[in-house]
Symmetry: C2
Amino acid sequence: MSIIAFQGEHGAYSEIASLKYFGDKVKLSPSFSIDLVFNKVKTGKADFGVVPVENSSFGSIFETYDYLSKYDLFITGELNLQVNHYLLAEKKYKLDEIKKVYSHPQALGQSSEFLKTLKNAKIHPAYDTAGSAIISGPEKGEPVAIVASKNAAAIYGLKILKANIQNNKENYTRFLVISKKSNKQKIASPKSSICFELQNVPGSLFKALSIFALRDINLAKIESRPIPQKPFQYVFYVDLYADLSEQKIKNAINHLEEIAVSVKKFGAYETGKIFRS
Amino acid sequence: MSIIAFQGEHGAYSEIASLKYFGDKVKLSPSFSIDLVFNKVKTGKADFGVVPVENSSFGSIFETYDYLSKYDLFITGELNLQVNHYLLAEKKYKLDEIKKVYSHPQALGQSSEFLKTLKNAKIHPAYDTAGSAIISGPEKGEPVAIVASKNAAAIYGLKILKANIQNNKENYTRFLVISKKSNKQKIASPKSSICFELQNVPGSLFKALSIFALRDINLAKIESRPIPQKPFQYVFYVDLYADLSEQKIKNAINHLEEIAVSVKKFGAYETGKIFRS
């Protein structure tokens, strides 16, 4: 039975994503941080990891990009989860009695408009959505609420004070599946991810993108992350609608290596399906 | 006397940046959030705002990008502040007695390696660096520390438990100066900022960048932000080494408007100098 490491506690969106992707015939391994998910996969404590990489309302999850570079792992899959946030509390409390709300900064950001209407409540970022239900353990009995999934309500025996509190009803989180081994399966609708550092000269990004554009290879996303040792220089993460094993893409990567300081390949995988949480 | 709104409480890095940029013959207006800084400038409660936009170790400050689009304001200047973080606490405490550390998530991220060595301390994100000294008011007398500037130690009467705790000694934050009026002064070494949304068709970003590359207009930075109503589509924020009032740049923007869904111009300003905090 495969072991799947996911970020957060039971009831976290990453756990829901893991179940949608792998089904329930797997062993799920809750992990305090995204770093720990990568670590478990790297050290063989888990076969796969499931990590959030981007939310359609709030943007990229930088940590995941940075750990992709740090750990030498492959992306073997992706999926999109439609995320519905719920405000949960102990059964005895009403909405206007809530004094504190805990959740992951991303979940708080995605629910900011509703949270602004809670005049008496202070908002506290926590390391997780579902996990904050456990963190708030010492405050059991106090008027504390969390922003979390519907699953978390069932798991922690909490009441739904308000359903679907996200700012945007079309709110999706994209997750990556990571592994020590690259994908060997046939891919019907492929995507590939790479990152590269360019020389700090004018026009270098334009030249890098032209390598793909002139070969009709389409970009799904581009993200830049800072290089701490080189202030205000960047590593570019690019997702391509292509399979790294195609000759055309191999040629493009060779071309990129001619002009880049460095290139890393994270493998090819099936373009993610959409699931409802 | 000009009123300058900055994000945070007295002693915050944004206040130090404001003083470096404007000198001390201004009235400084502390503001709880980046949103409030934009709001004060928009409603005329402040003449200028000073907001962080990027840290060289930790990356972009997304909020600032999103508020640039939301509020109809101009960028009139920028500066780079070398940021040194200090661990501060009440005078009676030693380093190994600290049980909680508060600071802004960016400051915590930039000091993560040192903070990991504090085995007994829990790390709590707070809305501000200096402000967390005030937030921790109710915990006065408890073994609480904050990650903040040297200035905050003096302002709040705190002891330096450890100096220069940032992961990277070359740690810079770039700040933008925002105003209701665009820059009318002559600019010696110009930068301009724009944002644009492109049609969701293959090669659109490549075409947009070619508009600048083919005119030898150099990019300083590109950042993408999600469009919440259009899942996994992006607005691109681009900084150019150019002055929007030059004919060549006007031509480029006209060309961009031919192919883009929308283009916004945030004005031209002097390329930022480096200051030490």
